[in-house]
Symmetry: C2
Subunit: 187 residues, 2 copies
């Protein structure tokens, strides 16, 4: 399977990075002007000043381009907040993560990513999540704290609440998070 | 939020059921002929012999129509297999459920359902799953067996493996299912 979107990872300063930035900005301008419905690759190419074949070559199809733009907007910009303890960090990050995923931009990103063919966007979305948990674990270990496996947090907290965001359209509450997190904290 | 697809639930013998059948068949014929890319509501309407506004009124947009067709194809046709015990029934059903969801038609259905706006398709997809677990629980209770809550199976088995199908593109193995099912069986 071709790894379309990873080929569009920014290479700072290069032609590739400039093309990506121009195309992403074109998608955002056209979405702001006219919404999602009229978006086409030829229209995006014209707005970005590139050829349609540049877009097809790099992103594969419209769905994968939209997923790439949506993921870029939701990419975490900084390491999770440092509250002084692994437990506190995890609780703060989970609250923020689910608030973001259940928000309208978060749901739109999930629709774009999960509605598109290929697996690259999906894997990046999962990586954004596991890399943040890994960072919290590493910080906890540096403090000399007991931590838990990233996979346990994914299985026991992320997956059940993401399932409900996706399939029940509900927004996880603090209590929903706590009920699944508490039994999985280090003892 | 409008509940588009549930309005399209079949009413046997009525005009509504005939329109639904004609439109679903038109989608399938056009997909078989030319794939997904060229599908439009006007083309589907022409093929089905209805007006485009009939389709817009009933399904909202192309994404929701495609999700409805995909769900209809994956709707369980019979109660889960009776193996003689709750534990055996659950194991047999989970194996079949994940095989179906991770298959190419299953993944295409998930893309259509999770990529479309609204929450109706998503909720029907979740209901297909919880209704089957409820049926296994009821059968177990009738046999006088101990059973577990449907929510536990969703949280502990369905959600973590569905998360991996969706975000990691992986196919759950028998061992993946067993590892998550075993601690959640009745004691």
């Amino acid at each position: 399977m071709q790894n379309q979107a990873s080929r569009s990872a920014p290479r700072p300063g290069g032609r590739s990075a400039r093309v990506q930035a121009a195309v992403h900005q074109a998608v955002q301008r056209l979405q702001d002007q006219a919404g999602r419905d009229g978006l086409t690759i030829p229209a995006i190419a014209a707005e970005a000043g590139v050829t349609p074949s540049t877009i097809y070559r790099r992103w594969g199809d419209l769905g994968q381009l939209l997923a790439d733009v949506a993921l870029e907007q939701l990419r975490p910009e900084s390491p999770p907040e440092d509250t002084g303890s692994f437990e506190g960090d995890l609780r703060a990050w989970l609250a923020q993560y689910f608030e973001e995923m259940a928000s309208e931009p978060g749901r739109a990103m999930l629709r774009d990513v999960l509605g598109s063919a290929g697996t690259d966007g999906q894997e990046r979305c999962m990586h954004f999540c596991t890399a943040q948990i890994d960072a919290l674990r590493a910080r906890g270990l540096q403090r000399g704290e007991a931590v838990v496996a990233t996979e346990s947090i994914v299985d026991q907290v992320i997956a059940p609440l993401m399932y409900r965001i996706l399939f029940a359209g509900t927004t996880p509450t603090t209590a929903d998070i706590e009920r699944r997190l508490a039994p999985n904290l280090p003892r």
